[in-house]
């Protein structure tokens, strides 16, 4: 069957691109490369940009303030927002038209002031089994690698993957390292890792391929609290190096 891209509902204008993802979902991309046609070069990678991130936040905020009937879920990411909807109530074309209206208005949406959240991390040793390798790869001492990771202020680009997992960026070039070629079967909860220029904390034990630099005793996802996730999209994060003793103390608190 000849599906052309046009028939799949790819449409772009003003740096916003709509793409059918399934029969019950539509994805909105904010492209920094708006002038390049997404149709001619569909493999063109979107860029991670602060501007794209802010547009995602604005649209997310506006849809949360003014919910759209039939929309069932939202999956934000770096420069895109996936809308899952009830296909019995909405069609892609209808949702796209509604969202075009939202996009036009969203510049006026006030975003909450970003919070600065400090996350204590005990680096290296059993908590950060990849710290030594990562440091060596970049010709740094482990202490220097820790300083690079802990001296930056990171942006929470979005939460995804599993409950409470915040995608943080960007890790300085002198430390950025690709994922492990073979992911670990289980990464302990609280592990702080890097993958390329991303960094983040595993809220729960899951399989994972990020390089682990340390571990935090702080719980990232707390289902018993009103604010379940420690971090929200748009927050700023700093990692603070702590000793094993402090880790033990905070872990018991």
């Amino acid at each position: 069957m000849g599906y052309t891209l046009a028939a799949m509902g790819t449409s772009a204008s003003g740096g916003v691109r709509f793409q059918v993802a399934s029969d019950q979902s539509l994805i909105v991309y904010f492209d920094s490369s708006a002038k390049k046609s997404g149709v001619k070069a569909p493999h063109l990678q979107n860029q991670i940009t602060i501007k794209g991130h802010e547009q995602v936040r604005r649209l997310l905020r506006l849809v949360e303030l003014e919910p759209i009937a039939g929309v069932r879920n939202l999956h934000p990411a770096y420069c895109s927002l996936l809308f899952k909807f009830d296909a019995m109530k909405l069609r892609h074309e209808e949702l796209e038209e509604i969202l075009r209206g939202y996009v036009k208005r969203m510049e006026k949406v006030a975003l909450p002031e970003p919070r600065l959240v400090e996350i204590p991390v005990c680096y290296g040793g059993e908590y950060g089994p990849d710290l030594k390798d990562v440091a060596e790869l970049h010709g740094l001492t482990t202490q220097q690698a820790i300083e690079v990771h802990a001296s930056a202020t990171y942006i929470v680009y979005f939460l995804g993957f599993v409950p409470g997992f915040a995608y943080l960026g960007e890790v300085a070039e002198e430390l950025a390292t690709p994922r492990l070629s073979t992911p670990r079967r289980s990464v302990p909860a609280g592990s702080v890792g890097i993958a390329g220029s991303q960094t983040g904390v595993y809220p729960i034990a899951t399989p994972g391929g990020w390089r682990l630099l340390g571990r935090t005793p702080v719980k990232m996802f707390r289902p018993d609290r009103v604010e379940m996730s420690l971090l929200s999209i748009g927050d700023r994060v700093r990692f603070v190096a702590i000793s094993r003793e402090q880790f033990a103390r905070l872990g018991n608190a």
Partner: protein
């Protein structure tokens, strides 16, 4: 209050309803029954709202002791159910007297069997849903699969269904809702990353469901399909039923406990009307993919919903 004692849980039995939507911005995926059609019908057979919580059993069922009398229904795959060692029929309402034991065996058909109980399984709701999210240990019965010795509470029954009524599902409906091995799909958001030739391989190929499949995803084995544009991309939101292709070229179908975002290109997406079929796939099952137009996907969903809402579905 009615109680059910879990004498034997089976390898993976969880409390499930139709899942929790709306928490994607926290990274929380919907979860819910793997075969929601079976759960919804089971609930109708016992007089519950379609989204009441029931038990989802996987490949091998459990043994349950009922302290009080109630009405149950077994739907989905046939797990050879017996009540005090007398076999009972699936897809019908079954009256249970106090002190009886319901025992389920190994599957004779698909992967999952649902036990629905009049009044529903009563667990603490988490984010508006009773469904268990196994990976994160949230929701359901203490966030985990059932164990021997667990005691389940049953909710209050709907007033109109206090007395037992024999109900069954029309043969036509059961036939129409039979799980499919040829999964219908629409193109994924990165289908253009895959060459025409690769797409032909994908749609002509037979894929085998591997043992590593679970509620998060079904990992497939078969002809490798490489993206021409790279194996990884910037993470974006992913849909239920998305067929993502990993670096090794093998497809994974994202399922009910899916990650909310991912960084692999998606070649296709299983249509909504066939998502329940995914829940009945067993390891070593062989499947194929069939591309359909978006309009057809929508029509098939409408047809399925119409059948599920129809009076003719349930015979009394």
């Amino acid at each position: 209050m009615s109680l059910i004692e879990v004498r034997a849980p089976g390898p993976l039995t969880t409390v499930q309803d139709l899942g929790r939507e709306g928490f994607g911005p926290m990274g929380v995926s919907a979860s819910g029954a793997s075969d929601p059609v079976a759960l919804r019908i089971g609930n109708r057979l016992v007089g519950n709202p379609g989204g009441a919580a029931g038990l989802e059993m996987t490949l091998l069922g459990g043994t349950f002791f009922f302290r009080e009398g109630t009405v149950v229904a077994l739907t989905g795959a046939d797990f050879a159910p017996t009540l005090d060692n007398v076999s009972v029929t699936s897809w019908t309402s079954v009256e249970i007297r106090a002190g009886q034991t319901l025992r389920l065996g190994a599957t004779r058909t698909g992967a999952r069997c649902y036990l629905c109980v009049r009044g529903g399984i009563d667990v603490k709701m988490f984010l508006g849903s009773a469904s268990t999210h196994l990976l994160s240990g949230l929701g359901g019965f203490q966030g985990r699969a059932l164990r021997a010795g667990d005691v389940l509470k049953v909710g209050t029954a709907n007033g109109s269904f206090r007395t037992f009524r024999k109900r069954s599902v029309s043969a036509r409906a059961v036939a129409q809702l039979t799980p499919r091995k040829v999964l219908r799909v629409t193109p994924g958001p990165q289908s253009a990353w895959f060459s025409q030739k690769v797409q032909e391989v994908f749609y002509a190929g037979t894929y085998r469901v591997t043992e590593e499949s679970n509620r998060m995803g079904l990992r497939l084995q078969g002809a490798a399909i490489a993206s021409t544009a790279g194996a990884e991309m910037i993470s974006e939101g992913v849909s239920l039923g998305a067929v993502q292709v990993t670096a090794g070229g093998l497809p994974i179908i994202l399922f009910v406990e899916q990650q909310t975002t991912g960084g692999y290109p998606k070649i296709a997406n299983v249509i909504s009307a066939d998502l329940s079929s995914l829940g009945q796939l067993r390891p070593r099952d062989e499947i194929r993919f069939e591309l359909v137009e978006m309009g057809a996907a929508r029509a098939l969903l409408m047809e399925q919903e119409k059948l599920l809402a129809s009076k003719e579905l349930i015979l009394e």
